[in-house]
Subunit: 276 residues, 4 copies
C-alpha cells in the first residue's frame, strides 16, 4: 500500500515488538542473574505466545495488503501484466516474518526441533525484506530511494546480529541490540510515511533537494538515538521492578550482589559458556 497507512501498519508492528523485546529480554536477564538458567515453564510459554503474536500480525498484514479496496484480491496476473506487485511484495515480507514466528513456536513446543533454527529464520526474514526493498526502489526519486536505503541499514544490522544469535544464544547484548534496531525500524517506517505521504495533506517534500537528503540521513541517526534511549529506560524500569520483587521475596539486591562479586569481566562470554 503506497500510502501513509501502508507504512504506519508495519511501523507499528515493529515498534510494538521492539519495545516488548526490550522488556522481555531485560527481565529474563536480570531475573536470572546468579541463578541456574534452566528455561522454565513460564519462559517457554512466553516464547510461544511471542511467536504466535508474530504469526497473527503477519496474517493481519497479508490480509490488509490483499483486501484493501485497491489491493490485488489474490489476483497475480491478468492477460497483460502483473497486478499490484507492490502489495504482493509487501505480503511476501509479512509472510516470512510469519514463518519466523511459526518457527519460534515450533522450537519451544517440540524439543526435537534444533535450537538456533528460530534465530536463523528470523535473520532470513530480515534478509528477504532487504532483498525486496533493495530492488523495490529502482527508478524512484532520490529522496524516496535514500529514505528506503536508510531503512535497509536497520534491516542489515538486524539480520547480522540475529545471525550471530544462532551461535551466541541468550546473549543480552545482542538481544537488546536487536530490540533497539527493531524500534528504529518501526519508527523509521512512520517517518517514511510522514515524508512521502504527509497525512496532514500538506505539500510533499521536495524529493530532489540535496539538503533534504542530508537532513534525512541525520534524522535517521536521531531515530536510532531515540531507540537506544527507549531501550535504556525500559532496562532501568525492569531493573527497578526486579529489585523490588527480589526484596519482597527476601533475596538480596542485584546491584549489591554484583558489586561485591568484585569482577564482572568476561561476563558476556561467560553467559554463553557457563553451563557447558
Amino acid at each position: 500500500m503506497a500510502n501513509f497507512q501502508g507504512h504506519a501498519l508495519p511501523g507499528s508492528f515493529f515498534l510494538i515488538f521492539g519495545i516488548w523485546w526490550s522488556l522481555k529480554y531485560s527481565f529474563r536477564y536480570l531475573n536470572q542473574k546468579g541463578k541456574s538458567r534452566k528455561m522454565n515453564y513460564y519462559y517457554r510459554k512466553i516464547e510461544i505466545i511471542d511467536g504466535g503474536m508474530r504469526v497473527f500480525f503477519a496474517a493481519v498484514g497479508i490480509l490488509a495488503e490483499q483486501f484493501v479496496p485497491d489491493g490485488p484480491h489474490l489476483h497475480l496476473y491478468n492477460d497483460h501484466d502483473w497486478i499490484k506487485l507492490m502489495n504482493w511484495q509487501h505480503g511476501t515480507m509479512y509472510l516470512f516474518y510469519g514463518i519466523s514466528g511459526l518457527m519460534d513456536m515450533l522450537t519451544f513446543l517440540f524439543p526435537v526441533v534444533p535450537l538456533g533454527l528460530d534465530r536463523l529464520l528470523m535473520s532470513l526474514s530480515a534478509v528477504i525484506e532487504g532483498i525486496l526493498f533493495y530492488y523495490h526502489v529502482h527508478n524512484r526519486l532520490p529522496l524516496d530511494q535514500h529514505i528506503h536505503f536508510l531503512l535497509l541499514i536497520t534491516v542489515i544490522g538486524g539480520a547480522t546480529s540475529t545471525l550471530i544469535e544462532v551461535f551466541l544464544r541468550d546473549n543480552i547484548v545482542l538481544e537488546l541490540f536487536r530490540a533497539s534496531l527493531c524500534i528504529a525500524h518501526g519508527s523509521w517506517f512512520w517517518q517514511i510515511g510522514f515524508v512521502l505521504y504527509p497525512p496532514s495533506g500538506g505539500p510533499a517534500w521536495d524529493q530532489t533537494s540535496h539538503s533534504n537528503i542530508m537532513f534525512i540521513t541525520m534524522c535517521f541517526c536521531w531515530h536510532y538515538l531515540v531507540a537506544i534511549i527507549i531501550v535504556a529506560i525500559n532496562y532501568s524500569l525492569v531493573c527497578g521492578l526486579v529489585n523490588r520483587l527480589k526484596r519482597s521475596r527476601g533475596e538480596e539486591n542485584i546491584g549489591i550482589q554484583k558489586l561485591t562479586s568484585g569482577s564482572n569481566l568476561h561476563e558476556a562470554l561467560l553467559n554463553d559458556t557457563d553451563e557447558e
Copy 2:
C-alpha cells in the same frame, strides 16, 4: 549451454543434493542425540559415497558441456578468438564442485587429511561459481542480469555458511541451512531456464520490463520458501522414522527424552564443544 537443458542439468544436480543432504543431516542429528558422537564406519562410508557422487555428477556436467553438438569439443582457441567460452566457464564450475567432492572422499578415506579442508573447498567452489557468474552476465538485458544476480544470493549464502562450517563442524543448523540453499539454488536454475528459454516454445519474457524484474525478485523469495518447507518436511519424516526405529529397538522416544531434560538451551553451541 545457453538453452533450457543447460540450466535444467545443474538445476537437477543441486536439487538432488539439497534434498539428499536435508535427509542425511537430519538422520545423523536425530539418531545421535544423547549418544556418543563418534563417527562410525557407516557414516564414513556414506560420506565417501556422497563425495563420489559429486565427482561423478561433475564429470557428467563437464562432458556434457564439452561434447554437446554445439560445444567446443576441447578446443579453446582458434587463430582469431576464444571458442565457446560459455561452455568452458560452465565446465570450470563443474570442475571445482568435482574437486570439492574429491576432497570429501580424501578426508574420510585418509585420516591424515586435516578436517575442515572439505568444507573449505566446498565453500571455495561456491565462491568460484560466484566469480564466474558475476562477470558472466555483463552486457546482457536487465532481466537476464537480474535473474542471475538472484542466483548469486544463494551462492554467497552457501559459500558463507559452508565457510563457518570449517570452524563449527557438524552444526545441524548450518547443515540444514546449506541444504535449503542448495535446493533453492537448483530450483532457481530451472526457473532461469523457464524464463529465458521457455521450453513450451512460447514467447520469451520481456527482458526490459520493470514489473517482470519486480515479480522475479518476489518469485525468488517464494522459491526459497518452498526450499524451507521441503527441508522441514524431510526433517519431520526422518524424525518419525528415527522414533519408530528407536521404539522398535526398545529405546526411549526422542521427543520425550528431550522434554524431560528440562532445558535445551545452548544446545547448538554444546553440539560443537561437548566432546572437547
Copy 3:
C-alpha cells in the same frame, strides 16, 4: 565547520584518545601478566574517567559546531530550507561519541549494566560517523570525495574491530588495533584540513588531478604506518616502565618470566577464556 579548525578539532580529539588508549591498554596488559585479572578499584576509576573525558570532548565539539560565528545557533529550519546542516551533522557525530562515553561510565559505575554494551555503543558511534560521512560528500570534487572515503576506511575498521570486542573483551591485539586506527583517524583529519583548507593560505590542491588522488591514497598508508609506529613506541615505553616498577617491587622481570614459560602459543585466545 568547513574550514581548517573544523577538521583540526576532531583530529586532535581522536589523536589524544588513540595515544592514551595505546598507553592504557599496554599498561593493563603488561601489568597483569601472570596475575589474577580481577578488575580492581583503580582500573574501574580510570575507565570511568576515560568515559567522562569523552563525554566532555563531545560536549565541547557540539557547542563549537553550534556556536561558532557562522554556526546554526540551535536553529534547524527556517521557512525555506534547513540551516547549516553540515554543522548539525558534525554535532550528531559528536553526540554519538558522547553517548558512547556515557555508556562506558555507566558500565563501570553500575554493575547491573551488561558488559559489552559499552563496546557495542562505541562501535555504533563509528557506524553512525560512517553513515553520515558516506552521504556527506556527494556532489563534491573527486579529491574531496576520495580523501573522505579514505577516512571511512579507518571508521569501518574501527567499527568492525570494536564490534568483535563485544565478544572478545580485553583482547590486547584488538585494543592496540583500535588505538592505532584512532590515531590514524585523527591524523587523517589534520591531513584533510591541510589539503582542503591550507592554513598557510597557499593555493588549494587541484581537486581533479588523478595524480593527487594517487598520492593521497599512498599518503593515507603512510599515516597508518606512523600510527603503528607510535603504538609500538608507546608499548615499548610502558614495557620498560612496568619492568622497572616490578623490579623495584622485587618481582621478576616480565621478559624473563615469559621466556622461561616456554610457550606463549594461544595466549591471545587464553586471555579470553582462562577465567571461565
Copy 4:
C-alpha cells in the same frame, strides 16, 4: 615498474613464500600430531628466519622500484607534479610486507610482544595492497582493470583468512588456505605480466574485447586450481617424509595412529583449544 619485470618480481616473491609456507605448516602439523604442541626452539628459529626473509625481500623490492633507471630515485615531488607515483605506491606495498616480516621476528624474539599482532600486521599488509590496487587502476582499459581486480580477490581472501588467524592461531586449514592464496597471488602477477607486457614482444592482447575478459576470469580460476594442487602435492610429500622420519625413529605411523583413534571430529576446533 609498469613492465614485465615489475610484475615478475613480486610474483616470484609471493610464489616462493606460498610454496615455502605450504611445506612449513604441513611439516609442523604432521610432526606435532598427538604430541604436546609446545613451540620449541627450532620452530622459533624458523619463524624468525621466515620473517627475516620477508624483510629482506621487501627491501629488495623497494630498492628495485626506487633505483631502476626510470625510477624516482627518492624524489617524490618536483615543482609541478608528483614523480613516478606508481613506483612509490609499489614501494609502499613492499614496505608494509616488510613491516609484517619485522613483526614476525619481534613476536618470536621477544616474548613480551602479544601473540596475534604478527598475523594482524600480515592481514593489514594485504589490506594496504588492496587499497592501493583498488585506486591504482582507475581510468585504465577494461581488461587491465579486470585483471587487477581479480588480483584483489586473492588479496581480500588472504586478508580475511589471516585476520581469522589472529583469533584461531595455528589452524592448519587456515594456514594451508593462506599458502594457496599466496601461490595464486604470485602466479597471477606473472599472468598479468604476460597479458599486459608480453615478454615475447608479440602483440599485446586486445584490452577491450569482452571475450578476453571472460577468458581471463576463467583463467584466474585455473590458476587457483593449480595453487590448490601444488599445496596438495606438498602436503603429501611432507606426509611421506614425516612418516619415514617417524618410522626410522621407531614411532608409529601417522596414518595408522589416527585411524585407530576412531573419530577425528572437531579436530579443527580442538587444535585451538586443547591446551587451554
